[in-house]
């Protein structure tokens, strides 16, 4: 498992665990981010910047602090179409 901040852009991943509290988990579910969900890592900004992901066809910027608490597993076969 990797932290979301350690994943190379262009990788499709499956969310394994959210380390934060319930409040964070609840917010993330509203954006479709919870255990078992697949999404694509689009971009990773340096300088402590956020990670940009694409989930169900929409783009979401995830701040560094949150991204470090999201554990993911790269998907074996590349996903052609998400959403």
């Amino acid at each position: 498992m990797h932290k979301l901040t350690d994943v190379q852009p262009g990788t499709s991943v499956i969310l394994k665990e959210v380390l934060g509290g319930k409040r964070l988990q609840k917010r993330l579910i509203g954006h479709g981010l919870f255990e078992g969900r697949a999404f694509l890592v689009l971009e990773r900004l340096g300088q402590g910047g956020p990670v940009l992901v694409e989930i169900e066809g929409s783009k979401l910027a995830v701040g560094r602090g949150i991204a470090e608490k999201i554990l993911v597993q790269p998907e074996e076969s590349p996903v052609g179409l998400i959403g």
């Binding site: 509203g30 954006h31 919870f34 900004l45 300088q47 995830v62 179409l81 959403g83």
Partner: protein
Amino acid sequence: MLKAALIGNPNAGKTTLFNALTGARQRVANYPGTTVERKEGGFQALGEDVALIDLPGLYDLTPLSPDEEVVRVALVKERPDVIVQVLDASNLARGLYLTLELLTLETPLVLCLNMLDVAEAKGAHVDSGALSKLLGVPVVETIASKGVGMEALKRTTIKTAKEGGAPKAPRTTYGEPLDFALKTLQSTIEAAPSLESNFPASYLALKLLEGDELLLKAIQAGAGYAPLKAEVQAIRERIGQSTDMMLKQRRYEKASQIAKGVTLLRPKPAQETAGDKLDRLLLNPRVGIPAFLVMLFGVFALTFLLGNPLAEGIERTIGALGAWMIGALGTASPLLASFLTDGVLAGVGAVLTFLPQIAILFLALVAMEDSGAMARAAYLLEGWMSRLGLHGKSVIPMVLGFGCAVPAIMATRIIESRKERLITMFVMPLFSCSARFPIYVLIVAAFFPKPLQPLALFGVYMLGVLLAFLIAVLFKGAFDKEEEGFFLLEIPPYRMPSKKTLLFFTWQRVGQFLKRAGTVIFAFSVLMWAMSRFPSPPANELAAVPEGLRPAYRLGYSFTGRLAKGIEPILEPIGFDGRIGMALIGATLAREIFISQLGIAYALDAPEGASSSLADRLQKDYGPLTGVCLLLYFLIASPCIAASSVMAKESGSPTLAFLQVGFLFALGYAAVFVVYRIGLMLGA
């Protein structure tokens, strides 16, 4: 009169839809006891009047803050006859996640499937008929930005409200043992009428199992509360601690399933969309951040290039009007003529001159927000911002701050951590608002050569931004360090802002400005005129003064003239004289008054018949050093009562608001002092 509530995810096009439905019939107020904005409007169709409330955008009905609780209260306590939910057709699962919750409220529901054009462009076709059948509620297709589907939506809303009754949706299943637990809990609630809650039993059961703290608090006064709480606890213990997360996740999966079932995806085109291509370029910080700055600079250049000729036109019109008034009234009633020309026209007129520039500025701000540019700027700048102790989303209130600090301070609510929110508010006055804009324009026009004017103006704004960042860094340790930054932001697809939306919001802002010019500025112009005109020197004293010096003598004798003399010792060290002092006194109430007050002072001071523009007169009387000092003073030191009171309210700390005013005044005074002294030494 039917009552309807409009709800939806952020970015689903809710505000555009609200405007398209209600037009200009809108009222903005606050929810009692909160600072949450409550927008109300109305429409007519089928011979019925419908009152529509616009609720704040949200992702689900589990409030995590008191501000979000407001939405639930509005839905449950106010009992609208119908709820209209806006869904983004290109992002259906997320919208349906909220829908599945709304269905448990047992209030008639209409789904508005919006942004069909965006979905089609993405290669997705949504079958609204199938969606309607699956959920047992009417679904109306719309493209709010183009006004498509509005009549159908109005009619369906009214029909659904009149039919009444809970939506005929099949119950959402969560799988066992959750379904069994929900049913048991629901029957307990139904058997306990003493609970006295306004919530339907199915909704209450769901939310209690999800561990909704605010809801527990809301019903704890009822007699049936204690046994209910015990039962909820027992169930949660039996199923496990993650009951709440399980319910939410299953609901999202369900929503996702429904969305997939009703969406026909065309095979993804080999080429990426224009928006994706643009994003690959612009979401790279090395390209995106400079592009953002260029865009901001472009806005300021535009206000000059396009706004100046228009402003000059207004100025000429006002001048002609003044000349005509003097001609018509001058001999018959000199005092009335002076009141109308030197007071009203010189005061309100001087401020109105800047109307074109302000309209252009607001138009550009609205376009930036509506097109999706602002969200991208927030994403790109988050890394830098968080190191400054700010938040990526701080960018949005900050850019809004160029319009007005009041909505900007209110917009800091989108920042979810308190510390970053407070710092953003604290430095907000350094983002020059549109009230200071005309002052800058006047001074820049008076003291800078024409080719340098846009750059000078942009420079003032940038200096403010730089100072704001410096102060943020210095103060970041002073604010409580409770939580880490919390940044989660949806990047909406690029959107061409519709002409209707642009004009609507710009008109709203311009309207506020005009209202201000007609009320506050008018009142102060009259007051300033009176203070500058009276008391008059005795006729014999005036007669002893040479003809050409009489206006100046008259002004010095007046109340304002004496007051300005009084504060001269404070202003002298920073190079401001009595006349500027008078204008600064006015400016503490509203910054625009600086210009009207100068206008009045010069009008009363002018020898008969002399009429040259305010900029020309300033240039004649003061040097460029005074110009720079004035720019600095207004950039840093000048307080604004409206902004400070909002600051006190939004931060919950009047002390912080006082500290802010005191700190910025001291800093500004010191900066002007240093610049003035260095300037004098250099012989400027």
